[in-house]
Symmetry: C2
Subunit: 380 residues, 2 copies
């Protein structure tokens, strides 16, 4: 567990459970940011936003996503920045390739599922243990900065991957000024840091950044971190150097320090659609019909059954119902059918055996009769 | 389908498929807001935000959620405003009752699942067709303003439910000023409108509002609508009267006009936790162990299998595996076992029958013998 707890975005539950008195003490309020952090939903946090936000800031906030599992921080961060990059590009008339999630078909949108699933490039990511990178891998292991950077490259240009180190904060500052300064470059910055380094509860974590504020008088610098664990911490303004120091921490899985990535949209040919697909309308209409039929079935009363109906127009539940009438049947049907065949086969064999035995016994009896009184009769 | 297409948040696909030339024409960019709407991620949209946003605005944006299915707009809107209300209350030191979603346990957060699931109050909602309101109901039918307002009341105070009507825009304006004016009341406003009324593509829809802007010179009023179909439309500033008119449209399912709700946090006793649960640590540790064991199984390679592992510490997959070894067996095992029993039973019956038949035939033969030659023998 010691390795796991150091992994990016891994749950820090073991410690949590050892300190139940602490848990109780914080139970009446959500977790608060560090003493040096400023919650966005506070008067000061809002003031910083007003004085420093750019259009890019609202674009990232528009697509701010919650991680779907407690180890999916890198994927939720990716979904947030990839959708923001696509929206940015689209508002400038440029098209980027956004995949379709069956749930939102025919509209195109990055989700924490379609970023990883059925993307051949993602399966080629070199992982720390040699296993294939997919949703299950991330659910079990989270991701290192290198793994994250590699699968991000399947969808966008990773302009910079920086492992934080002593004295390297200038590069971080430069990236922030390019992305969130007065003349935004169109790039976005996302970080991999140790929560403990910013006085938060937990271990390795990833989240996108949305704004950069430098106080004209004091020179104090803050960066707006949109924490994708929205159930745990609010968006927070963190001192730039404090966050950088929290990145300059060892991820024992990779043997390298954490850090940040700078990502920009990968412009594609004009034939690539954003926002809505151009698939054949007839296919969609059929899918929709199947979806409604599926949603009316009793399996859809369960949460996962309902979601399955929306996954490819209900193919999952519909095909499993069809299957139960043909190939893979229910245990009850299989038992009854097996019993019937067993009954017939067993019965036929036993009847034949019993008849043969009976016939032999009659033969022996008549043989005895013939021996005793030489009576010649046909065996009936 | 005519009724369905008028329902709140229902998909408008049938029309979409009849107009494939239109679909192709918009395919290179995401859908744009109406001619009178101003996208938030534009220079003007950002300027309006800077000049009118309040802390409440950022709080709503912090919890802005995407509907998990194409008919879940009312639920995504509810999740957004309920989490924002809870965060607002918490920042003022007040506690509200936020449920736990097993995926985020031990943290408390409203999700589109736990708003509906296992909440006895939700099952008592009076629906238009008398069916029980749950996730399946919403997936099939969406929700009317009345149904939505009723299930919202299970989690918060619905201060106002307003069916829009000619001349009623003043009440809407008053609600906006209370919620998003200079002295925010802590209330939030969410709307149920017809997309066609704001020149959008679709039918009935729900979404939360996050800000209100009144131009000091021209008197022009705009309201910021955070569209929960984030895959379809960006957040947009809409003219207040245009949006109100789009609410003053008939929902044929309820026979009433659409409208808006004003919601505020329901303060609970101090024993109600927000942010993190105080459940026994031992239970959590056991759950976590089960979760890891579950995530390592081959079933977790599927997206739904992975999510099932996180649902109550993997109870779903773990128990289904255990079940397959005891009660509900596989079709193959059932077939083999059924066949064996059938073989034994069928065999025993057939043997008995064949023996009895054989014995009767021997009896008849000996009876014939006795008649023919009066030979007295024991039947063998």
């Amino acid at each position: 567990m010691s390795v796991r707890s150091r992994r990016a975005c891994q749950m820090f539950f073991p410690l949590l459970f050892l300190c139940s008195s602490f848990c109780v003490s914080v139970s009446s309020l959500p977790l608060s940011p560090s003493s040096s952090g400023i919650a966005l939903n506070s008067t000061l946090g809002h003031t910083l936003l007003i004085s420093s936000s750019v259009v890019t800031t609202t674009t990232v906030m528009n697509h701010f996503d919650t991680q779907v599992t407690q180890s999916f921080c890198s994927v939720a961060t990716s979904a947030t920045i990839l959708n923001a990059l696509a929206a940015n590009a689209a508002s400038q008339g440029r098209a980027v390739a956004v995949p379709v999630d069956p749930v939102y078909s025919p509209y195109r949108y990055y989700t924490q599922r379609n970023i990883l699933e059925d993307i051949p490039c993602v399966a080629t990511v070199k992982t720390h243990n040699g296993a294939e990178l997919d949703a299950q891998f991330i659910a079990l292991h989270g991701a290192t900065l290198d793994e994250w950077s590699q699968y991000l490259k399947c969808h966008a240009d990773v302009v910079q991957k920086h492992h934080a180190r002593s004295g390297g904060v200038g590069e971080f500052r430069a990236a922030l000024e390019r992305a969130y300064g007065a003349q935004p470059s169109g790039e976005l910055v996302a970080v991999n840091f140790d929560r403990k380094g910013v006085e938060e509860f937990g271990g390795g974590h990833m989240s996108p950044l949305a704004a950069y504020h430098k106080d004209a008088e004091s020179g104090d610098e803050h960066v707006l971190l949109l924490d994708v664990s929205r159930y745990k911490y609010p968006p927070v303004w963190l001192p730039v150097e404090e966050l950088y120091d929290a990145m300059a921490t060892l991820d024992s899985t990779s043997g390298l320090n954490r850090g940040f990535v700078v990502v920009s949209a990968r412009a594609e040919g004009s034939d690539v659609a954003v926002g809505i697909t151009t698939e054949a309308s007839t296919t969609k209409a059929t899918e929709l019909k199947a979806q409604y039929a599926c949603l009316e079935k009793k399996e859809a009363a369960r949460w996962d059954g309902m979601l399955a109906c929306l996954d490819g127009g209900g193919t999952a539940i519909m095909s499993s119902s069809q299957t139960s009438r043909s190939a893979a049947m229910s245990p009850t049907s299989a038992g009854v059918l097996g019993g019937f065949f067993g009954f017939v086969v067993g019965g036929a064999l036993a009847y034949t055996y019993a008849s043969l035995v009976g016939r032999r016994r009659v033969s022996r009896a008549f043989a005895a009769l013939q021996y005793a009184g030489d009576v010649d009769v046909d065996i009936p």
